[in-house]
Symmetry: C2
Subunit: 159 residues, 2 copies
């Protein structure tokens, strides 16, 4: 199965996959039209990439890049990884990860990160198999991902 | 105490703070000269910012921005937050977070993220007080941060 990097003209195709992914996990997702428009721009940028498996597409992985004080290259974050439910267990996820890692090397990223829900045992097992460390190498400890909505002007926790 | 955004000419000042931060936590950090050079470029970019408290500096917060498929604006990640040990407990950390949040709003970021070691109870308490959610709003669950070193060509976990 071919895995290739999505181009701007793939935006609608990627939006459909991303929408299916978020519907399956009951996550909020933007409207398809807005998503397609945004992805058209993202897929042309050098700080965001989507890898698509198969044609018609059977899965995708999206990865963002950000600068770091600790390395000359960027740090990569695996944003989403999705394989159509009826096609799981055939190694498509592993092929997508391999393509993401190849992309990281192409752009000079030395670290690939991912955030995984504590209760998602399948995902934790998958990422362990794919070489991701739950115990961080520099501390030997697990690390949590925390987030704060900063859209509302009135929500300042610090007063 | 004034908190201001560091400019490229502050690179050596920021490098010294970042070095102190990593020494305190026994984390690997780049050499000061290389770090200063890198920070000179980062502080001029629009995807990385450092907020400095005090003069001479008593602490700093660094934040990176990356694009997202879920929002027109970028997503912000708090990379490092540091206050000199002898000046802790005076609200400097909270002032730095407030400045980071203000920066997020300026650049249109709606989400501010941070990764925290599970065993770092002080940090977890601090971020909870500052409005960061450990239980993710869309799942009600904690999420782990995982990472994979992708620098070595021979380490492909997926064969």
């Amino acid at each position: 199965m071919l895995v290739r990097r999505a181009e701007p003209h793939d935006a609608a195709r990627v939006a459909t996959l991303l929408d299916a992914f978020n519907r399956e996990y009951d996550s909020p997702a933007p409207e398809l039209v807005a998503l397609t428009e945004r992805l058209t721009a993202l897929l042309a940028s050098d700080t965001f990439a989507v890898l698509i498996a198969g044609s018609p597409p059977t899965g995708f992985a999206s990865v963002s890049l950000r600068p770091s004080a600790y390395d000359d290259g960027p740090v990569a974050l695996l944003e989403d990884l999705y394989v159509r439910p009826e096609l799981r267990g055939r190694g498509i996820g592993a092929r997508l990860i391999a393509a993401v890692v190849a992309h990281c090397r192409e752009v000079g990223a030395g670290l690939l990160e991912v955030n995984v829900d504590e209760a998602d045992a399948d995902a934790l097992r998958f990422y362990a198999r794919e070489g991701f460390a739950l115990l961080q190498p520099d501390t030997g400890e697990r690390a949590f991902y925390l987030s704060r909505d900063v859209t509302s002007a009135g929500d300042d926790a610090s007063g």
